[in-house]
């Protein structure tokens, strides 16, 4: 059966739907210019689980669980569920870890960078330029033969591990729902103020997450791949989906009164151009070396890819370290150890790129 969503018009339609739904999620309660942010939301989940204690960013974001489970559902229906793993998982963990460090310096993943742009936050331009630069560096390694090696087919239960973990988080969320004014509900931490206290109703977040997960899995939507394919192959296929996302999110923001152009005073953002740029250079390089943007890694883990699942876990742990070690930014600027984290991350990712390219490493 032909996969209509993986055609040019299919991916444009998916990008448009994502742009609209992200703006809608913001309208319904998600933080400003953060209708969907894979990095921020995984960081919020890390907080809810107590892996960090930054009390303004703790919430079990159902969108993330929805992405994985929606992708699983679509993959099963299309007979595209292929459990596989074994391609340098520990390296992918490190890539996920440092991708998150970079993203939290900019305060967004590529999805949020696009949504910030669509919301009028011009600081995102620095982030998108940095992302492009990081992906470009990744393409140099790819052109040179960088390869983490093949994955192998795995038993079904291996491919189901991440979806089941996500289901477990949903169960935790149902049985430990937030209580107004309470910083904790059962075992789960909840922000009482700040971005972690801003969320759309749980069922809406979950439903939209499931829908996006399914659409993105079928269409292979990937923000990093969009830039990479343009640079490496001069191919516009994935990029057309990205453009559709920005255009529709922008129009929806206008309609919802969510478009506020400017550099200063932007929500959950800072204006230090150089660090917005450099943080996303690190993130972009890590995504390129890992073969997918953070959204794509969630959708891949839903269709059975255990290596993508490890990358996701690396991102969640990276978020914990980012806040525990003062590497995460805030609207006040970069964290006390942010630049140090950036330096270490760039060093590690460049080393991974280098050693992954050598014929005998």
């Amino acid at each position: 059966m032909k996969n209509h969503l993986s055609t040019r018009w299919g991916i444009i339609a998916v990008g448009a739907v994502i742009g609209l739904l992200a703006a809608l999620l913001q309208k319904l309660g998600n933080p400003p210019n953060m209708g969907i942010c894979v990095a921020c939301f995984e960081r919020d989940i890390a907080g809810a689980l107590g892996l960090h204690r930054a009390d303004v960013v703790q919430y079990l974001r159902p969108e993330i669980m929805g992405f994985v489970l929606g992708s699983l559902g679509a993959a099963l229906l299309a007979k595209d569920f292929r459990p596989r793993t074994g391609s340098a998982p520990v390296i992918r963990f490190a890539l996920g870890f440092f991708a998150m460090i970079g993203a939290l310096i900019f305060l967004g993943c590529p999805w949020r960078a696009l949504l910030r742009l669509a919301g009028g936050d011009w600081n995102a331009l620095f982030g998108l330029l940095g992302l492009t630069a990081g992906v470009f560096i990744g393409t140099l390694f790819l052109r040179g033969g960088y390869n983490l090696g093949p994955a192998r087919k795995a038993p079904k239960f291996v491919g189901l591990a991440m979806p089941l973990l996500m289901l477990g988080l949903l169960v935790l969320a149902f049985y430990n729902p937030p209580v107004a004014g309470e910083a904790k509900s059962g075992v789960i931490f909840y922000s009482v103020k700040g971005p972690g206290a801003m969320y759309a109703p749980l069922f809406i977040s979950l439903a939209i997450g499931l829908l996006v997960g399914g659409l993105a899995q079928r269409s292979r939507f990937c923000t990093m791949g969009a830039l990479r394919d343009l640079i490496l192959f001069k191919q516009m296929h994935l990029f057309s989906g990205l453009i559709a996302l920005v255009v529709v999110a922008f129009l929806a923001n206008l309609a919802f009164g969510q478009f506020k152009p400017g550099f200063t005073g932007q929500p959950v953002a800072h204006s230090l151009g150089i660090w917005n740029f450099m943080g996303m250079v690190l993130a972009g390089l890590a995504f390129a070396l890992a073969g997918g943007c953070p959204g794509r890694q969630l959708f891949l883990s839903g269709e059975g890819d255990g290596d993508a699942a490890i990358f996701v876990l690396g991102m969640i742990v990276g978020a914990a370290f980012a806040h525990n070690f003062g590497m995460a930014s805030s609207p006040a600027g970069v964290g006390p150890n942010g630049i140090l984290g950036l330096g270490v991350g760039l060093g590690v990712c460049l080393a991974i790129g280098f050693f992954g390219t050598l014929k005998k490493a």
Binding site: N3, D80, L142, N147, P150, A151, R152, G225
Partner: protein, 72 residues
């Protein structure tokens, strides 16, 4: 004899990269590419078509796909 690329197990963008590298070097105007995900099947076909090659046929077996590409 048709040249064959085995891209099974390799993740994006490897199958496309290897295919695009191989296409100009193929003698005989035919290349077969073996992949094991639908996404790779779509991507390799799209990449080959962007270089003027045609997807003559696809064989499916045990979840793997063999794309038979011919020079356009």
């Amino acid at each position: 004899m048709t040249e064959t690329l085995d891209e099974r197990g390799l993740s994006c963008p490897q199958p496309v990269l290897d295919t695009l590298k191989a296409l100009p070097l193929v003698k005989g105007g035919k290349l077969s590419v073996l992949v094991d995900t639908e996404a790779a099947r779509e991507n390799v076909a799209r990449a080959a078509e962007s270089r003027g090659w045609k997807l003559a046929s696809v064989d499916e077996k045990d979840g793997d796909y063999t794309l038979h590409l011919v020079k356009g």
